[in-house]
Symmetry: C2
């Protein structure tokens, strides 16, 4: 027997009741029954985003919703500001470039956040920036960005909107779409929403709809206007949606809303705090100077091979964690506390970290990490 | 208790073993385990397409793969020929137009097929046609098109490729991608593949890859070159795939390949023949003069309201069927025999047709349809 644990920052574990929902008989997507379902999840997801805006459900990975956000708001030759500090925030620039949008990048060191003043300065210098693309939680570095402060700056600009990738951040890191003036917030199913991958989401503000009205980039499958019309007039999607995942979403939203989004966020904060405290107690360092509550990136200590460390977690202890990407490959490990996660998922992750380090000959005080974690995890 | 039957041309019923597979623990998509899975399904799906070409797996509805076929092969201002004879073949033209591709349409009456000579003539008249977009089974009319003959014509043209929507056709209607010279064949999960919606597929020929090399239309999420590279070098997809559906696909492909694609097609032919024979025995007419083996479109007889007929199937007998779309709304009903379907699914559909017609006061010989169907269904 091999008992496995998924402590990766997406996909995340799916609760049994959500899996059971996924396996229910297939509902036809043009029926009244499905319209009720789609309308219900489209409402029930709003508290998770903390928004009154429409939230579109797309059948794709989160990247599909990111492409939708670019191709629906911009036109060829337009200029966008991209705050880049990791693999996923770089994706915004890649998509813009694929569509002929000029990118002004703000490049920050991986593992650091970006101060609001830097964004303000770029906006003041370039009055033609139509969209600022940001990231709530940069998954590749475990870093959370000050979206609220970006929103404060951008709400004053009539000709600029704020588009945020909250794919791994939603439901783990604080975000208040409406209060923080996030015009488009995209997310996906396989993170804080506790579902398998296959669905993406986009909340869209009134201000953003005006940009969408003027956008001329080509779009079809991810056409937001068509999706809005279909949802509002018929409770449908323009194209066949991933029905079984939407049924599962209905269940996972029931769970999240029963807990209450503020409690969900508090739980993630507690798990993240405990993880960070354990890491420090073991004499290790965090990669990020602005660590996110979704995933903790830990610097692999001197003398240890990060890939071997990750493999020890997996092969010996049955725990899947993530490694570093690009230039951080082998230099960091990333342990997620995202989605269907509680106390003993963190304990398992920290315990495996201790044992794996010991296995690789690294000297730590056995149990010191777990002890530090428990001190925080007790505070429920 | 309400026992329900899904006789719609997609989504189609999902076998229990496939549903169970879907509910298995989530596998991380960047692991060796998932690479083996993706490589295996990418091979095991080839017999269904009857191809040695690469088959890409995309997380989207079939429309996403259609958009991919357009945006990966063409450039702005290019010219494409679209054979239109129903709601879904019209989609090819809509996508082309959204991307600034000039469309030369061949418009045929809904419910009829398009003779190969008509295609040949258009190609001879317009030497600049880069892509011919066709449809194997036009779901909105239950019509099968002579793709083989189109392929014969197009294979001679160095500067033209054939792209076929086999979304509802694959696994039900004959298609031999390689022998018939189909350069790109797109399909989706929720039809003959017996899965929930959420995955799309595209087989791509060597000839098509040359077009893809020269295409400049914007693409990112549906970038075929990136998907090919990711699959071939790492057994991965560029973006997080719908893992649970891929696990389910593994199971459904096992079932289909155990039966053997030729037997699968024979089964669909038998079910379709029985349905058509029953319809005629009841004195009703088929809509199509080239009826497909995936779904049968039946003209609603004089004096009967088609929407009421469809509702009687559903509300009284628990059977979901499809109605007519656009100008055929209320004029036809469509009964599918597609995917996880056998003898008694057809018997149920025909029996419900008889009883619903009687309920609405239409005179038929009770049992005549089932009798005619049985005569054919016995020939296993």
């Amino acid at each position: 027997m091999r008992k496995e644990y998924l402590l990766t920052p997406g996909p995340t574990p799916v609760p049994d009741s959500v899996k059971s929902a996924e396996a229910r008989p297939i509902v036809h997507h043009r029926t009244k029954e499905h319209a009720e379902l789609l309308r219900r999840v489209s409402e029930n997801i709003k508290p998770i985003f903390k928004t009154k805006n429409i939230v579109l459900t797309l059948t794709s990975s989160g990247t599909g919703a990111m492409q939708g956000a670019v191709s629906n708001t911009l036109s060829k030759g337009d200029t966008a500001l991209v705050i880049r500090g990791g693999k996923f925030s770089e994706r915004w620039a890649e998509i813009c470039e694929a569509y002929g949008v000029n990118v002004i990048p703000i490049d920050i060191e991986w593992g650091t956040s970006c101060a609001p003043e830097v964004v303000k300065k770029k906006l003041d210098e370039n009055s033609n920036i139509k969209v600022v693309f940001g990231t709530l939680c940069e998954t590749s570095t475990g870093t959370v960005f000050p979206i609220k402060e970006y929103g404060e700056i951008i709400k004053e600009k009539e000709n600029t909107i704020l588009v945020v990738d909250a794919i791994s951040g939603l439901g783990a890191c604080d975000i208040e779409v409406d209060k923080w003036n996030v015009d488009i917030c995209v997310s996906a199913s396989q993170k804080g929403l506790m579902l398998p991958p296959g669905l993406a989401f986009a909340s869209i503000s009134d201000k953003a709809w005006k940009f969408i009205d003027n956008s001329t980039l080509p779009k079809y499958y991810f056409d937001f206007k068509k999706a809005r019309k279909s949802l509002e007039t018929k409770g449908q999607t323009p194209y066949t949606p991933a029905v079984s995942l939407i049924v599962a979403l209905d269940e996972s939203l029931n769970m999240l809303n029963a807990e209450g989004i503020d409690n969900v966020l508090k739980r993630h904060r507690r798990l993240a705090d405990a993880t960070r405290s354990a890491v420090k107690a073991l004499g290790l360092e965090l990669l990020s100077n602005s660590p996110a509550n979704a995933v903790t990136a830990i610097k692999v200590p001197e003398g240890i091979d990060g890939i071997e460390l990750k493999n020890t977690f997996d092969k010996k202890y049955g725990i899947k964690i993530a490694g570093g990407q690009a230039h951080l490959k082998g230099k960091i490990i990333r342990i997620a506390h995202l989605g269907y996660m509680e106390t003993f998922d963190v304990i398992a992750g920290i315990s495996a970290l201790e044992m794996s380090l010991l296995d690789l000959g690294y000297k730590i005080e056995t149990g010191a990490g777990v002890r530090a974690a428990e001190e925080i995890l007790r505070n429920i």
